[in-house]
């Protein structure tokens, strides 16, 4: 069984289109074990009960942005070790530096191709 068959991923994005696109890209890589959440708080709630290996989150979301979600994840006992991949429309230094400090594993700039997402994921978890 390859890694992609075991890897469980959560996609967090307020836009259902983006969730669909990311899920679709993951599907094309053979990653089918994907859950989604429309915002940070519901992501945290789901992760409490059902952990994943990797969270792929949008940066710009209402209420709780991607980095705030990352912070909350790293602060929770059960979620502290989860992998975190940020998807952001603007990769400015402030966002990336804050992400680095908070323990962001990697980031992808929008718009992305499935191949770019794949290599960003592989840089975190290894060959799929």
């Amino acid at each position: 069984m390859a890694l992609r068959d075991q890897l469980r991923i959560m996609v967090v994005d307020d836009m259902s289109t983006s969730r669909g696109l990311i899920t679709q890209a993951l599907d094309s890589m053979g990653i089918r074990n994907v859950v989604t959440a429309a915002d940070g708080p519901s992501a945290l709630k789901t992760l409490e009960k059902s952990p994943v290996h990797l969270v792929i989150s949008d940066f710009n979301m209402p209420g709780m942005n991607g980095l705030q979600l990352l912070h909350a994840l790293r602060s929770g006992a059960k979620t502290a070790r989860v992998g975190f991949l940020l998807i952001t429309g603007r990769a400015d230094r402030e966002i990336i530096d804050t992400g680095r400090k908070l323990g962001m594993n990697n980031f992808v700039k929008k718009p992305f191709e499935a191949a770019g997402l794949r290599s960003a994921i592989e840089a975190i978890v290894g060959r799929l």
């Binding site: 069984m1 390859a2 890694l3 075991q6 890897l7 469980r8 307020d14 836009m15 259902s16 289109t17 983006s18 969730r19 669909g20 696109l21 899920t23 679709q24 599907d27 089918r32 074990n33 989604t36 959440a37 429309a38 915002d39 519901s42 789901t46 009960k49 059902s50 952990p51 290996h53 710009n60 979301m61 209402p62 790293r74 602060s75 006992a77 059960k78 502290a80 070790r81 429309g89 603007r90 990769a91 400015d92 230094r93 990336i96 680095r100 400090k101 908070l102 323990g103 962001m104 594993n105 990697n106 980031f107 929008k110 718009p111 960003a120 840089a123 975190i124 978890v125 290894g126 060959r127």
Partner: protein, 755 residues
């Protein structure tokens, strides 16, 4: 199945509409001074999200425009740019153009770019173009024990514990999970060909599993060949089911009792399964990620929580395997069908999301229809019980009262499903105001109120056109020119108000302006010039105002680019009346004019007058009737062999015998003592309709006849009355129009005969 990307693309455009609405809301709040710190973020995020989605689909032009807009908004957000009235106007304009852009892209149309270039220039002058800093030095952090940069950082104390965690195991002990009966089960189910040939249906088995607890089903379609090579009788799909239930293996096996030997089945606890997988996987394949348990968390009764969206059940392209199609309709496979959509209703906070479900309108209509049947049935039951002489105090009667109440509640709820807030409609009017104001060079602000007021979806759609016309009128004719306003001591900025609210069971929409009011002297003069009224007519103020609704009336002294399109208020009025509505005007010299539209809450029920003609029961919409009276012998005058008129106060109105019009009887010679209904038409002309008796005034459920009979002249629909009788709902306006048509033809025929 449709291309998944196509589906996502389609849902993107739907989502864009929601984002555009949120953006409009935010801008409106900024204009109204109702904004808080989050408002500009909401606007920014909406534009940003549209850009992001557009980027994913390679819609470069849309991305470029959204980017320029986003940059300016970012400037506002970060405090680099102050928002003043002019800039807000620019943002509104950008929002309109962005909406155009989105829709043109969706429909594959090309867009006028001239307006865009102008706005883009203005935006760029405002926001500049942010050069994005390329981040080249970020080192991806592989998941391992030693997470660099963490734990050592003094100013992030709450993350300090991170470095101390032993392994990437989510703090779980899967050994415990294997020991308990409750928890997660991993079931692999691979039907053999015989399973299908003996008439078994895997879907039922999967459903039976779902009855035991929460299931996560994944279909393995790897063995599904291309369509050409597909053997329709072969079993190509197998399933992996993650069952979370407090159950034991025997119970799960029971589900598969009937297909014993017809499938390959393996049932394990998920913990065991994950263990064996992890063992099989070996370290070489997984250098950085130790995966002891993927889906289980034994401490909880319900791990693997239900996901907010459909699981990615893979669906084969082929439809030749019926079971897979039945299991996963296209929408569940790839499209996030049920999502939390931005709030479209009541509150003014554009951020508050609430869950919505998209439902086929046809299903709702079926429900509306069924509830209509229920209402009729209920009325019939009540009538039977009354006729049976059951005393009011009996338990049967009081139960029936409760039933009546419940039926009404259900009807109301069902109507509410079809109801839509007028907000989207009002937002469209915002744009009309901006464009009309720009076209005539006036400074106009739109104030809206009661946007959450709900009204039937069809009414909302059909209201757009008349409303647009009235808004243009208000800007063009209602409001004075800026100089005139200043001279009158008013604010140079004209105000158009659009409000909606409920009033005595109807929805009232008002379109007002704070202009000069109707110039009645000019209206009167024009009406006389156009021979709409006699030169010596004595009219009250309200009668003069109502002249605006007469066909062919137009007061605009100068024909401008936005009105004067040959559409008058009479057309507006016709549209409103066809929706079962009424329209009225109030105007105060120097203070402005308000048009008030009153509409029924729904098109599914109607206030009607039940009348009797020659043993036939008929329903006439109450909205069309202005007056009822009983004729005496001096009221009726005969003008010809078949033409009679009725004298009502100072006017002569044509007399129409409903029985004759519907072919029930030949005209009577003498109508004294007859009951007539005065029917008013759009042009305010009235007709007297003779009926035999007025029976009742009540709400009736409209049953359309159009699908079965097409358009029947004079008949709008049908209804079922309390006693089970079917009654036609008449369209008196149509009836009258056809009646006069017939009489003309007959006159010509007579002339031809005479000639």
């Amino acid at each position: 199945m449709a291309d998944p990307m196509e589906e996502i693309r389609a849902s993107f455009f739907i989502e864009c509409e929601e984002l555009l609405e949120a953006m409009q809301d935010g801008l409106q709040m900024l204009e109204d001074g109702a904004a808080d710190g989050e408002t500009i973020n909401v606007v920014f995020r909406a534009v940003h999200s549209i850009k992001g989605g557009a980027g994913a689909f390679g819609l470069d032009a849309l991305v470029a425009f959204a980017h320029t807009f986003e940059t300016a908004l970012d400037g506002v957000r970060s405090g680099r740019i102050d928002v003043d009235g002019d800039r807000l106007k620019l943002f509104f304009r950008c929002g309109d153009l962005l909406a155009d852009h989105v829709r043109a892209t969706r429909d594959g149309e090309t867009l006028e770019t001239a307006a865009h270039e102008q706005v883009v220039e203005a935006l760029e002058a405002l926001g500049g173009d942010l050069e994005e800093e390329e981040i080249g030095d970020f080192q991806p952090m592989a998941m391992s024990l030693d997470l660099p940069g963490l734990g050592s950082d003094g100013d992030l104390p709450d993350l300090g514990s991170l470095g101390g965690l032993p392994d990437l195991d989510f703090g779980m002990d899967f050994g415990e999970g294997g020991a308990t009966a409750s928890g997660a089960w991993l079931i692999r189910f691979a039907p053999k060909d015989e399973l299908y040939s003996t008439g078994n249906e895997p879907l039922y088995l999967l459903r039976a599993l779902a009855d035991l607890g929460e299931v996560e089903v994944t279909a393995d379609t790897d063995r599904v060949p291309d369509l050409d090579a597909l053997d329709p009788a072969a079993a190509c799909i197998s399933w992996t089911i993650l069952l979370t239930a407090d159950t034991d293996e025997a119970t799960i096996r029971e589900v598969f009792d009937f297909v014993d030997g017809l499938c390959e089945l393996s049932i394990k606890t998920a913990a065991d399964d994950a263990q064996s997988n992890a063992d099989a996987l070996g370290e070489a394949d997984l250098p950085l990620l130790d995966l002891p348990v993927a889906e289980v968390e034994p401490e909880h009764d319900a791990p693997a929580a239900p996901t907010p969206e459909p699981e990615p059940v893979a669906v084969p392209e082929s439809v030749a395997v019926p079971v897979a199609v039945a299991l996963a309709p296209p929408s569940t496979a790839t499209r996030p069908a049920l999502t939390a959509a931005p709030s479209a209703a009541s509150d003014r906070k554009p951020t508050a999301p609430h869950a919505t479900v998209r439902v086929d309108l046809e299903r709702i209509d079926r429900l509306v229809n069924l509830v209509g049947e229920l209402v009729i049935n209920q009325a019939m039951l009540s009538q039977s019980v009354r006729e049976a002489g059951v005393p009011q105090t009996s338990p049967a009667s009081s139960r029936l009262d409760e039933f009546l109440q419940l039926t009404r509640d259900i009807q109301e709820c069902v109507m509410m499903i079809r109801a839509q807030p007028v907000k989207s409609l009002f937002q469209r009017m915002g744009r009309i105001v901006r464009e009309a104001a720009a076209a005539v060079g006036k400074d106009v602000r739109l104030h809206t109120d009661g946007e959450a007021t709900e009204i039937d979806k069809t009414v909302v759609e059909l209201l757009a056109e008349p409303l647009m016309h009235m808004i243009r009128n208000a800007v063009d004719h209602g409001l004075e020119k800026t100089e005139a306003r200043i001279a009158a001591g008013k604010s140079p900025e004209g105000l158009v108000t659009l409000s909606a609210g409920h009033r005595s069971g109807r929805v009232v929409i008002e379109i007002g302006d704070d202009g000069a009011g109707i110039n009645r002297a000019r209206v009167l003069k024009k009406a006389i010039e156009k021979k709409l009224i006699p030169a010596d007519a004595q009219l009250t103020e309200s009668e003069i105002d109502n002249l605006l609704f007469m066909p062919g009336f137009s007061t605009a002294a100068e024909v401008t680019s936005i009105s004067g399109r040959g559409v008058g208020m009479d057309v507006v009025r016709t549209a409103i009346v066809s929706l079962g509505g009424r329209i009225s005007i109030t105007s105060r010299e120097g203070a402005g004019t308000t048009f008030s539209i009153s509409l029924p809450l729904t098109l599914a029920v109607l206030d009607g007058m039940v009348v009797r003609v020659e043993e036939e029961t008929l329903v006439i919409p109450l909205a069309a009737i202005v007056e009822t009276l009983t004729l005496n012998s001096t009221d009726v005058r005969t003008l010809g062999p078949e033409t009679q008129v009725v004298r009502v106060r100072d006017a002569f109105l044509p007399l129409l015998d409903l029985g004759t019009e519907l072919g029930y009887r030949t005209p009577r010679g003498d109508y004294s003592g007859a009951i007539v209904l005065l029917i008013t038409q759009e042009d305010n002309s009235r007709t007297a309709l003779v009926v035999d008796a007025i029976e009742d005034q009540r709400q009736v459920v409209i049953k359309g006849l159009h699908d079965s009979y097409g358009h029947v002249p004079g008949v709008a629909a049908a209804t079922i009355l309390g006693d089970g009788q079917i009654a036609l709902i008449l369209d008196p306006i149509d009836l009258i129009a056809n009646a006069s048509g017939r009489s003309r033809i007959s006159t010509r025929a007579e002339l031809a005969l005479a000639g």
